[in-house]
Structures are given as C-alpha cells and as structure tokens.
C-alpha cells in the first residue's frame, strides 16, 4: 500500500503511453484507482483526471471505487455453462456472502464479478482471484478456496502452496494445463536452437526473408487471414524513421486458448518469429500485447526475454550486426475483447481506450505512435520461425491451395479429449470431430462467436480452410442436448458487453438484436420479426466501423441458416393486425380480477 502517484510516474518514465502499466501498479497497491492518485498521475502527465479515467473506465479490470479485499472474476462462457457453472456461481455467492455484480460482502472481503472467456475452455469452470487463476472448479473446491482466503491465506498461497517461482514453467503448469494433443509438423515438435536459426536468417537479406514468407503462402492466424508476406512488404516499404513489430497475444475470442499454450510451451519460437520480422521490415521496437487474463505468464515470459538478451538474441547490435537493434517489451492489457483488433490494440499500447481506428491508414503505414507497425498473431510468429527453419516449399506443400500449412485448434465442449490440436488446413469437420472424441455432436462453433455455428449433419464434409470454413482457432463442440438458442444469446450478449461503443450500428444495433432473440426465446416473435432481425444484422455487419460489428450478428445468422427450427418452434401466431409480440388475451388477463377488486373497494 501507499504507492503514490510520483513513484508510479517515475517508475514509468512519465510516459503517457505507459498509462496501462501505471494503472496496474496503482490498482495492485490500492485495490482500486483512488481519486487523489489518479489526479496526481493526471498532473504528472499534463492532462486531466477525466482523461485518465477515459482510459481506465474502458477496461473491465480497472476499478475507480474500492471493492472487496479480493475480486473474484468467474468466467461466464458457453463451455463453463456445460460444466457446472451455475452450481459454482451459486456456491461462490453462498460462501462469500457477496452477490455477482453487487457490492462486496459485509466483511468487505470479496467482490464477485462476471468476466468473459479467460482462455481456459478446456478446464472450465475457471475464475481469477485478482490475477491468480483457479480451474476445474466444483462447488466443494470453491468452498475450500474461500475458506482458506477467509483464514488469511493470500490467493497466491492458496494456488501455489509450494511457492514455485513465478518465472518457472512449473508455476504456470501448476496453475493451468496446456493439453497439447499433437506433435508437429509446425508446433510442439522438438526444441530448436534459436541462436542458429536467427543467425542463419541474418545471413539472408531482408528482401530474401520477405520472399520466403511470401513463397510460403502464409496467411495471418489471427482471423482475417491476410497474406503475411504482403503485409511485411508493405511495412518494409512504408516510410518511417522507426518501425515496430507487435505480437497480438490478446486472444479474446471465446473458445480460443492456443496462444496461451504456445506462449507457455514455445515462447522462444514466438519471439524468434518477432526477431525475424523485425529484421525483415527494419523494426527496432517490439511489443507483446498480453491479455490481462494471462498475467500468470508475465514473469515466465520476462525470463524468456532476459535469456534471449543474455544470449545476444535481443538488444543492440544483435549477433554483432551493427544497425540491427531490436528489443521486446510486454504490454499487459486491461480486460477488453476489442483490444485484439489491431488498431484498437495499438491505441491501448499508447495508453488510450481500445477504440478501433479508421482505416486506411493501416498499421503497416501508420501504426504505433503513427509509425509503420507490423502486427501479427502469436501463432503467425511461431509459424514464421518454422518456415525459416524448414523452408517455404516444405510449408507450402501442406494444406490447401489457398491455405498453406497447418493450424492450431483450441478444442473444447462436448468431446472426450479437449485441448490443442495441430491439423493441416483442409481437414474436414468430421475428421476433427473424430480426432477429438466428439460426443453426440450436433453443432460446432467454428472460430468462436465471430465465426460460424455449423451443423455436424450438414457440414461434416466441409474443410477447415480460408476458402471454406475459415477458422481463427476456436473449435467448440455442442452435443445434441445443448440449447443452441441460449448459446446464441450468450454470444450476442458478449458482443454487446465488448462493443467499444464508438459507432452507432454496433452500439445500438447489437442491443436490439439481443432483445430480438430475447423476444424469440420468450415466445413473443413471429416470422416477420426474424426477417427484420436479418435486415438489422446486415446493417450492423455492413455499416460498423470495425470487425467486431462486422461479425457480431453471426451467431444469430449462422444458426438461423443451419438450425431454423430453434427459432420456428418458438414462434407465436400473430393475432390479426396486432404485432406478434402483442397478445390480447395476455394483455387483458388481469382485467376481470382488477374489476372485481375495484368493485369490492367501492362497495
């Protein structure tokens, strides 16, 4: 406690772009962001307290008011709800005496909060107690954790009784499982000598590296699937004194966790990919933007970076090459899905709200601090390291015509072997279901809420590939017993909660769409309502400013296409000229009783 604004400012060089780091320091010290400390930070940065709050209040892990001594964030996800989430949630309320979203318990010990997917779909339900994670929760386990906290143990002591050092992989492995189910060809194969790999790359010219990446046919693994070679070339030829390489480790798409596993099992493969990118585009500054939910990886990743520095694989005049200076820092986010969108991520790195920028200009032209920036997904960087190890032809030979290589799938839901699988692009949906031991599967959410909900019966032969079923890595299996409409609602709610709010179609439209689904669920909608909702969906998708709005209606649209009966079965027959949602009988239901009461009153 007692950390003051000046100490925080000094620690971060009074640099406004480090505002998120400052906010984390303050919150860790005080449990929230006290008004006077915020005012002190504002003064030190030459701005207003409102301006600091403008950034802070965007992120759901920052709090301007005090909460309980511990804040418990229970991940509310579709998979958790298949795995006893309701019981865990009820038990948490019972044991702590607090209510979700409400004030702390009377003793001031606990606040309970909801949070979206924390990247642990294969070991849910999961919760964070401040930054410490607990997985595979059951009511009894929850009761035990709360009892220990009440008895005075810290979350850290409860989770890590052996006191494993945080920079050791054993600590990470103790907290969360990695569940890697396949080995190779690209990932989790054998240890690589990154020193020789980087040395061999530096013998090539940057142009030669760019050529190899282009020849490999690699397309970005973060979702959009843009050609990595083309992006690098654009960034290399963009004019700018200084350039940046950013690794997108925000992994916010509900259902994905492969980037967490890559950063745990193969961090140096990812960082080597960043070094190669820096050399190829001429960048000197690197940032890994890590979602705050993965805070337990910070010390471990810092140590990997330190080791690379000690090895001369990061830092000034790398490997004795004068003029090639490149280093990497970690930037921890603050809790926001849209910050995975590349330009929102850059805003966040600059210490602002995660508001997506208008494009063009693209980050490759004007990115971090207005300078050319190459931003790629964790898996893309790890893939790059392997492409340069084995050659572009080796990579190109795998996959399909438009999707070269392999893809990591984060598999969860109704299957016997959830975890991380590497599959060649072109693998069919059925083949993946077989591989993972799917249990009576009805549907698969491919690429998370922003992707598609496909039917196992109708789409089994479709291929995981950019030209067919594009997939950002999430693969969530829904068994026949699942309530798909309930899942659609969860996903739409997620987008409403995570919209940055800057543009109208997304901010207002998604809420209307959610309410529309609620009307269907309540049995208040007719066919015409669905037609309207499809029209709103087109407008939201077409007119929104960023990819969040461009994809948010997809849970509704894809289920409507594949599973129309989940909607139809709840239709109400319209009553004459009235709106379907208007039920004359229901509206008049209380009439007789009210009249009787009135008569009694009068008499």
């Amino acid at each position: 406690m007692g950390l003051d604004a000046d100490a925080v400012l000094t620690r971060h060089g009074r640099d406004r772009t480090r505002l998120l780091d400052m906010l984390w320091d303050i919150q860790r010290a005080w449990g929230h962001l006290p008004e006077d400390v915020v005012a002190g930070i504002a003064e030190g940065l030459g701005t207003t307290a409102n301006d600091i709050r403008e950034t802070a209040s965007f992120y759901h892990f920052f709090h301007t008011t005090p909460g309980g001594r511990y804040r418990i964030y229970l991940a509310d996800t579709v998979v958790a709800r298949m795995r006893g989430y309701d019981e865990v949630r009820a038990r948490l309320e019972q044991e702590t005496g607090a209510t979700f979203g409400g004030p702390p318990d009377p003793t001031g010990s606990f606040s309970l909060l909801d949070t979206p997917c924390v990247g642990l779909s294969d070991q849910e339900p999961a919760m964070l107690v401040d930054s410490v994670v607990f997985t595979r929760l059951r009511p009894g386990k929850v009761a035990d954790i709360i009892a220990q906290l009440r008895a005075g143990a810290t979350p850290e002591e409860v989770a890590n009784p052996a006191g494993l050092p945080h920079d050791d992989v054993a600590y990470v492995d103790h907290l969360v499982e990695t569940n890697v189910r396949t080995k190779g060809p690209v990932f989790f194969r054998y240890p690589t000598d990154y020193r020789s790999l980087i040395r061999d790359c530096l013998v090539l010219t940057p142009e030669q590296i760019n050529e190899r990446i282009s020849e490999s046919g690699l397309r970005g693994r973060g979702g959009a699937g843009f050609s990595t070679g083309l992006k690098w070339q654009l960034c290399r030829s963009a004019r700018g004194e200084r350039k940046h390489v950013i690794c997108n480790a925000d992994e916010g798409e509900p259902g994905t966790f492969k980037d967490r596993v890559l950063l745990t099992r193969s961090p140096k493969q990812v960082f080597a990919g960043m070094v190669i990118a820096a050399y190829a585009i001429g960048a000197s500054n690197g940032i890994v933007y890590l979602r705050a939910e993965y805070s337990y990886l910070i010390d471990y990743l810092q140590r990997q970076l330190d080791e690379m520095r000690a090895d001369g694989l990061l830092g000034p005049a790398m490997m004795g090459r004068k003029g090639f200076d490149f280093d990497i820092r970690l930037q921890v986010g603050g809790g926001s899905y849209v910050c995975g969108e590349e330009s929102a991520l850059i805003e966040s790195c600059e210490g602002h709200r995660g508001t997506p920028r208008l494009k063009p200009p693209f980050p490759a032209q004007r990115g971090f601090l207005g300078e050319p920036t190459c931003i790629d997904n964790v898996e893309s960087f790890a893939t790059i390291a392997r492409i340069l190890e084995e050659g572009p032809e080796w990579f190109r030979a795998m996959g399909t015509a438009d999707s070269a290589g392999t893809r990591l799938l984060s598999v969860a839901g109704d299957c016997s072997r959830p975890g991380i699988y590497e599959v060649e692009w072109g693998t069919t949906l059925s083949a993946v279901l077989e591989l993972v031991g799917a249990q009576d599967p009805m549907a698969v959410q491919v690429a998370g809420p922003s992707g598609e909900c496909v039917s196992v019966a109708a789409d089994g032969a479709r291929q995981i590939a950019f030209e067919d079923l594009a997939c950002n890595g999430a693969f969530t299996v829904y068994g026949a017993q699942r309530d798909l409409l309930g899942i659609v609602r969860e996903h739409l709610k997620f987008f409403v909660d995570e919209s940055c709010g800057i543009c109208v179609p997304c901010r207002v439209g998604n809420t209307e769409l959610l309410r529309g689904v609620d009307r269907v669920m309540a049995g208040h909608a007719a066919h015409a309502d669905l037609d309207e909702m499809v029209r709103w969906s087109q407008i939201i998708r077409g007119a929104s400013r960023c990819g969040l709005g461009a994809t948010s209606p997809k849970p509704f649209l894809s289920t409507l296409q594949r599973f129309p009966d989940i909607y139809r079965s709840r239709f109400r027959t319209p009553h004459g000229v009235m709106l379907a949602s208007y039920d004359l009988d229901e509206a008049l239901a209380g009439y007789d009783a009210a009249m009787r009461e009135l008569e009694e009153d009068v008499s």
């Binding site: 030459g46 701005t47 207003t48 409102n50 301006d51 709050r53 403008e54 209040s57 965007f58 926001s336 709200r353 208008l358 409403v496 909660d497 995570e498 919209s499 940055c500 709010g501 800057i502 543009c503 109208v504 179609p505 901010r507 207002v508 439209g509 809420t511 209307e512 309410r515 309207e532 029209r535 709103w536 407008i539 077409g542 007119a543 929104s544 400013r545």
Partner: protein, 234 residues
C-alpha cells in the same frame, strides 16, 4: 491529382483523396451526416453517411476519392440503411424535439425531417441519463447526446490544450464527461462555439433560451440539404 469516379452512374471529376461525402455534395448528391464536421479530422462514428463503394458498404466521410470508384448513394437499400441508423439514435436517447432548445438547429432533427422519419422500427428505450449541471455557464443534457465525439476531439482548453469533454466507460454505457473547472474557464465565445459544435441539444449554454424564434432557426430558414449542397436562397 484529378480523377474520375461515378456516383449513382454519373461520371464526376474531383481531386484524389477528397472525402466522398464532399465529392457527392459538390456534384449535387446529398448524403446525410451527423458526426462529419467539414474542415476537421474525420470522426467516422455515426455511420449515417454509409454508401456503397465498389459494392461494399463504407462511411463516405472516411473514404477518400480514388480513380474509377463506383459509388452508389440513392438506392432503396442504402436509404433504408441510413434511415435505420438514424432511427437507432432516436430510440437510444430521449429526443423530445418540441421542448428542446436546439430544435430547428439540430442536425439530427434536420436529417430525420429530410428522411421524413415519423417513427422508429425499434422500441424506444427512454434511458435514464443523468444531466451534468455543475459548470457555471454550460450544461450537458446527456439524454440527447448521440456520442458523435465532436466535443471530445475538437474542444480544448485555450491555455493548456487539455480536453474539456471526455468519455467514460464503454459500449452502450459509455457517456460524455465534462471537466467542470476547465468548463468554467471557457470564454463566452468558446461556450457558444461548443454549443454550436454539438450537432444535437446535448451541450447548452446556461442563461440562454429562445434567442432565435422558432420558425426562423437555422434549418427552418434554409434546409440542411440545401446548405450541404451549397444552394443559396434566391
């Protein structure tokens, strides 16, 4: 560089990079806007100026003209799209035009009238939004705010360059905040500018009411469409 593109099938000539919304206006095609503020950096928040460019929907304020672009503005589908976005704004806030000081000079009202908007396809939400009355000369009627960001981006303290208006929270809970101390330091003409900058009646000057009679106000005297198209009263 001079280039050519088509707007609703007509070939027009312009300078490369000119925002499409301005190219359209210069050639007699009115595209409604709310956040767009000519001469200032693009905000791209309201999306009311959506058109199709080479088949894809785009905000015409945020896209610069390129040679050969095929721009569609007045198709039934696009009119309906823009109208829907305006309806979204009406249901999201509380807009009692007849009792609003900005009536007749409100851009949202003028755009809606031009579209002949009479109601909305969404239920009205009637949100409960707190007004900000603490500053001496200016107040914030959040009910009417359309979150266009003009005040946040374009109003600065004259001495320090600090923001006077800012945002808090996100998504549908996001709202505009006012720095009361800096607001109280605003000279009267800056207050008037801020009131004028706000496209709706969310930023208002205290102690001013009905300074221009109803019926003679900006868009009543000469419509928004005519103003945008640069038509002068004869």
């Amino acid at each position: 560089m001079t280039i050519q593109l088509t707007i609703d099938g007509e070939v027009v000539t312009t300078t490369e990079g000119t925002p499409l919304v301005e190219v359209a206006a210069a050639n007699g095609t009115y595209v409604p806007t709310l956040c767009h503020h000519p001469g200032s950096p693009c905000l791209g928040t309201c999306r009311v100026c959506a058109v199709r460019v080479n088949g894809a929907i785009a905000a015409s304020c945020s896209l610069g003209a390129r040679d050969g672009m095929v721009v569609e503005v007045n198709t039934p589908e696009l009119r309906d799209l823009r109208r829907t976005i305006v309806e979204m704004l009406f249901v999201e806030g509380v807009h009692n035009c007849p009792s609003c000081e900005k009536s007749g000079r409100c851009q949202l009202q003028a755009v809606a009238l031009d579209m002949r908007l009479e109601g909305a396809r969404f239920p009205y939400r009637y949100p409960d939004r707190e007004a900000e009355h603490d500053a001496a000369r200016i107040w914030l009627e959040r009910d009417r705010c359309i979150f266009c960001q003009r005040c946040v981006e374009f109003v600065r303290d004259r001495e320090t360059g600090k923001k006077i208006f800012s945002i808090s929270r996100r998504g549908e809970r996001a709202r505009i905040e006012l720095d009361v101390e800096l607001a109280d330091a605003m000279p009267p003409e800056q207050v008037a500018e801020a009131v004028d900058l706000c496209p709706v009646g969310a930023i208002l000057a205290k102690g001013v009411g009905y300074d221009v009679p109803i019926g003679q106000r900006r868009y009543e005297a000469w419509s928004l469409r005519n103003r945008v198209l640069g038509r002068r009263p004869s």
